[in-house]
Amino acid sequence: MMDNGNICETSSNISNWMESAFKYAEEALEHGEVPVGCVIVHKDTKVIGTGRNKVNETKNATRHAEMVAIDDAMCNMKTDNILEVFSESALYVTVEPCIMCAASLRSIGIQTIYYGCKNERFGGCGSVLHIHTDEALTASTGQPLQCKSGYYSERAVKLLKSFYKQENPNVTLPSVRQ
């Protein structure tokens, strides 16, 4: 598929980037964090930022993988025009971004989001709210955001389930669906 004239998104590229995102989700699991991981890819050629959940580590409930990856991209690119870089970049994340992350990704103008499984609890890209496309938010939160879902969702759900299982065997499984 041709996009913006010069970005060629082949399905094998998507799987490669998703594969990297899963690497960070698994790392999160190893560190006792909710296993969500992501990578930010510039012009479909280069990973410029990576992130995994760091909520426990930082004692800050907002340190989701996406927020961590945004910081990482800023530090790697070291440019005065980071928003231009983001506008040419896609985010690959194992689980649908939450309402907070959807709003932040839209506000920094990320081009496209590819995600694995849905997030029925907090999903901001269609599950609970449509923060990514809501026309009423354009003035306050920026242009609508393209979102594509369903990449390796089974694998993403499996990871989440393994986290919640080790966390508390009595607890019901998270309400994520593929």
Partner: protein, 363 residues
């Protein structure tokens, strides 16, 4: 993502409707849409009513209906109302409600339905009526419901107080305004660094009225992101900074906020976190075993309504209550959404607006 445990909101207050609040009050409550005084909130559905041929059959018909056609889950609905007809005062009885008896909603067949047959001779003139399907939550909703069909109303004193803005005593209000004043002062300190800064935040432990952190909007200020790299961070909204500084006060946190955060920061420095708390000072009495939901039980004062990102960040952080000064387009706690009042999200909290509104407006 967060832990899957459902935690009950401390207060089941979930609605904001500033328009219903009395003007000139020092504060208004932002309640969820289900408390709004309009037809949507009471949810009108189709019902089918009949008229009794004579009032003397009322008890017989009602007894039959209670047994064979109960209005399950609709205890707020009265079954009978009196109506004036050309034939004098009559009693009208609610037979069916569309949500329960979809198959019976046919005026021509009503009187021949099996369950009706035993009382068939006492009823006539089937007609459709509008029925408020949700029990009224406020007196205004009660008055709307009554225009359609009689209902019962159990007043929730807390909600009434919220609607009348009389929840807080004067000294509570003084304390609230004092904390908001500090948020305003914090925004002004930020303004000295960058004139575009228009947001100040104060996070307080209401149990002891201890300030845990203060922050201003840092989007246009170069500060350390990581390992000596300094930049303007587009997501360094005041609320996000304040939440991270609460984390810092607990021995966590992400950013150094150099050069703006002083090593021994004080409350009037603009950026502040309370470093005197033992790292496990709070949350110990919390029923949650998740110590990292570190804003549990804390109140947040913010000069302008938080954006969607910040509103959801506050929800993730499990705050107790948010006070803000002025609303703004795209806000997440009353304007674009009422994220704090949604039953489909896993934490709910109270939100109040219009605190020192005119002072916040001029920032």
């Amino acid at each position: 993502m967060e832990e899957p445990m459902e935690k009950k909101s401390r207060l089941d207050v979930a609605v904001l409707n500033p328009s219903t609040c009395i003007k000139d009050k020092r504060i208004s409550c932002v309640l969820g849409d289900e408390y709004a005084a309009n037809k949507d909130a009471v949810g009108l559905v189709k019902g089918l009513a009949v008229t009794l041929t004579s009032k003397k059959y009322a008890s017989q018909v009602l007894k039959h209906l209670t047994e064979y056609l109960p209005l399950e889950g609709l205890q707020h609905l009265k079954r009978v109302r009196s109506v004036k007809t050309h034939d004098g005062d009559k009693l009208q009885v609610l037979m069916f409600v569309a949500t329960l008896h979809e198959d019976f909603m046919d005026l021509n067949k009503t009187l021949n339905i099996k369950e009706i047959k035993p009382v068939k001779d006492f009823i006539m003139d089937p007609m459709f009526v509008a029925i408020p399907i949700k029990p009224p939550l406020t007196r205004d909703q009660f008055n709307i419901c009554k225009q359609y069909w009689p209902v019962s109303f159990h007043e929730d004193k807390k909600i009434s107080k919220l609607l009348l803005c009389s929840l807080f005593a004067d000294d509570d209000m003084d304390r609230i305004e004092e904390n908001m004043d500090l948020a305003i002062e914090t925004a002004r300190i930020g303004k000295k660094f960058d004139p575009r800064c228009d947001q100040g935040v104060v996070i307080v432990d209401p149990a002891t009225n201890t300030i845990i952190s203060t922050a201003f909007d840092m989007r246009n200020m170069e500060c350390e992101i990581k390992d000596g790299y300094f930049a303007r961070h587009p997501l360094n909204h005041a609320v996000m900074v304040a939440i991270d500084l609460v984390a810092r006060s607990q021995g966590g946190g992400t950013y150094t906020y150099k050069p703006f955060l002083k090593s021994n920061s004080k409350i009037n420095d603009g950026l502040y976190f309370n470093s005197t708390l033992p790292t496990s000072a709070r949350n110990t009495s919390d029923t949650s075993d998740k110590g990292y939901y570190i804003c549990t039980g804390l109140d947040v004062y913010v000069t302008k309504e938080p954006c969607i990102m910040c509103s959801m960040a506050l929800l993730h952080s499990r705050v107790r209550c948010v006070f803000y000064g002025v609303s703004r387009p795209g806000g997440g706690l009353g304007s674009a959404f009422k994220l704090h009042a949604r039953k489909d999200l896993n934490h709910r909290f109270e939100v109040f607006c219009n605190v020192l509104k005119s002072k916040c407006q001029v920032l």
